[in-house]
Amino acid sequence: MTKSQIIVLLVFTSPMLQAGIVNDFKRKIQYHCQKHHSPLLVKKVLIEIMSNSDEPGPFTKTLIKQCPELNLKELKSIYRKSENDVSGNIIGH
């Protein structure tokens, strides 16, 4: 399999690998910052946030640098909201 085939495979399968929470988190980050970020960066930030650390990880620091409106507390709050939005607590969400 060639590199280009793998890239094509990744492009088509990545939506399948994204759980609802990833999409929702990405959408909320975009809404807060009013700009588009690398999907891979947002996923890495999500992993760092989910690890419950009290200090921002390297990807979180990069995102905060790109979008100064955000901080670790705000990102944790966005994550909790995303988690809640995909949990079925609200009818029709």
């Binding site: 399999m1 060639t2 590199k3 793998i6 495979l9 990744l10 399968t13 399948m16 690998l17 759980a19 609802g20 909320k28 809404y31 807060h32 946030i49 419950n52 507390k73 944790k76 909790r80 909201k81 988690e83 809640n84 995909v86 949990s87 079925g88 607590n89 609200i90 009818i91 029709g92 969400h93």
Partner: protein, 455 residues
């Protein structure tokens, strides 16, 4: 020269071969991940709460009403522990069809040591002893980008602002003050834009006399008639601006409840009297009809302050359509006369109005430490339909005026929370054995500790 060319070709071939090998390995790993994701259509979450509380009750002179007719002393205190365990299960067929479920066990600590009087089908209480039951189980089907159809046991419990005290996110759809009981039904939600959503929710119920003959309804004896069905229709308008931290819900509900099945219970009264039999029956096929209008406003970080403030208000209009008749017959005695009074209104009028109010704020000193204060007021005839709560003290089931102060410390990104608090409650009305409102005059103080974990 030829040797050099040979080695160069060999090098290129081996690099390309190694690259292909590593790409194959990468593809294999991605495929494994892909398979795992496709296989994992079900997610589990767990919540466990331990609640410990102490009640101190002072019944003022002249108050002889306890609702259940028991003879309690004018002053007493008691300590209670409660355990709540929830298993949350989310599953998805694909992005458009999802199923959500939640099962819970709620019991007072070792509650069955003293009594086992908790029917697993009694939905008016969340305390079902050792039984695990579903408090939500429904499907969301995305019809179009705008419309979502939902059906099943809907997430109608523990709505806002119930979640704020523990530093959590919203846990239910209806404002807590309007309704907090599991409700089976269907709903159509419409997302008009990023901020504005409407929901129409319809619920129907009819109890069966014989579950093997689902076309048969039970009959009432006096007068002989078929018990009526229940319907609840709710229209909800929700405005949610995440960026400004504003959430506003306006909700109207029309309800009409059918009569419950006649029942009798035998219990031990005292050594001198022996056993007594208690009969309860409705006089008509419908119990009550009415309307509820609810508004809930929640502001996150108003004026840039690190707090959440909220106001919930609901007004109810109800009309009793039946009397509830009760008779207590002591063993060896002649039949007693039934006493009858209208359902959930006053004993001498079949119509009533009432207002319930919650106003509160939660101040975040840090991301993990907050302090909250609430004021609650419920007038005498306001309908009590918020029966499920993660507090031992459930103000929304009661009538009177209450103050609540608490502090919450959270750990591990709010997965673990410890809340300590104090309630001061002046109770001014209660329901008697026929479920009519009567005056009451009690002062209840409650201190508690609530330890919760969510995984």
């Amino acid at each position: 020269m030829l040797t050099k060319l040979f080695f160069l070709t060999l090098l290129i071939f081996s690099v390309s071969n190694a690259q292909e090998m590593s790409l194959k390995k990468l593809d294999e790993r991605i495929t494994d991940l892909e398979l795992l994701t496709i296989k994992n259509k079900i997610n589990f979450g767990v919540e466990l709460k331990n609640i410990f509380g102490h009640f101190s009750v002072n019944r003022h002179d002249g108050d002889s009403t306890t609702g259940d007719g028991s003879n309690l002393p004018s002053k007493y205190s008691s300590a209670v522990g409660a355990l709540i365990y929830r298993l949350k299960i989310n599953s998805e067929l694909n992005e458009r069809v999802k199923v959500y479920a939640g099962a819970q066990m709620v019991d007072v600590y070792n509650g069955d040591f003293n009594t086992n009087d908790y029917g697993s089908e009694n939905r008016s209480t969340q305390y079902h002893g050792n039984d695990i039951y579903l408090y939500k189980a429904y499907t969301n089907i995305v019809l179009t980008d705008r419309f979502v159809f939902s059906a099943g046991r809907l997430p109608t419990t523990y709505g806002p602002p119930h979640h704020i005290a523990d530093g959590q996110e919203r846990e239910g759809t209806y404002p807590f003050i309007a309704y907090s009981v599991p409700l089976d039904g269907v709903a159509l939600s419409a997302k008009w834009n990023n901020r504005f959503t409407t929901r129409t929710i319809y619920s129907y119920s009819k109890s069966l006399a014989d579950r093997f003959s689902p076309w048969e309804s039970y009959t009432l004896s006096n007068p002989t008639q078929v018990a009526g069905s229940s319907t609840i229709l709710t229209q909800m308008f929700e405005f949610n601006d995440e960026q400004r931290g504003l959430n506003f819900i306006l909700q109207g509900t029309h309800f009409s409840l059918g009569a419950f099945e006649e029942a009798s219970t035998v219990s031990y009264a005292s050594s001198s009297v022996g056993y007594e039999t208690f009969y309860i029956s409705p006089s008509g096929k419908k119990l009550i009809k009415g309307n509820l209008l609810t508004a809930h406003l929640e502001l996150e970080k108003p004026l840039g302050l690190p707090l959440i403030s909220y106001l919930s208000i609901t007004k109810s209009w109800s009309e009793s359509l039946s009397n509830i008749c009760t008779t207590t017959v002591l063993s060896g005695s002649a039949d007693a006369t039934a006493s009858c009074s209208p359902y959930l209104v006053s004993s001498n009028d079949n119509k009533a109005q009432g207002v319930r109010l919650i106003i509160g704020s939660n101040y975040n000193f840090t991301d993990s430490l907050s302090f909250g204060a609430e004021y609650m007021d419920a007038s005498k005839y306001s309908i009590p339909v918020s029966l499920y709560t993660d507090n031992l003290f459930n103000f929304n089931y009661l009538n009177g005026e209450a103050y609540h102060l608490y502090s919450t410390k959270t750990f591990y990104n709010r997965a673990l929370s410890l809340r300590v608090g104090y309630f001061l409650f002046d109770k001014n009305a209660t329901t008697n054995s026929s479920q009519s409102y009567v005056d009451s005059n009690e002062n209840i103080q409650h201190i508690y500790m609530n330890l919760g974990i969510r995984i």
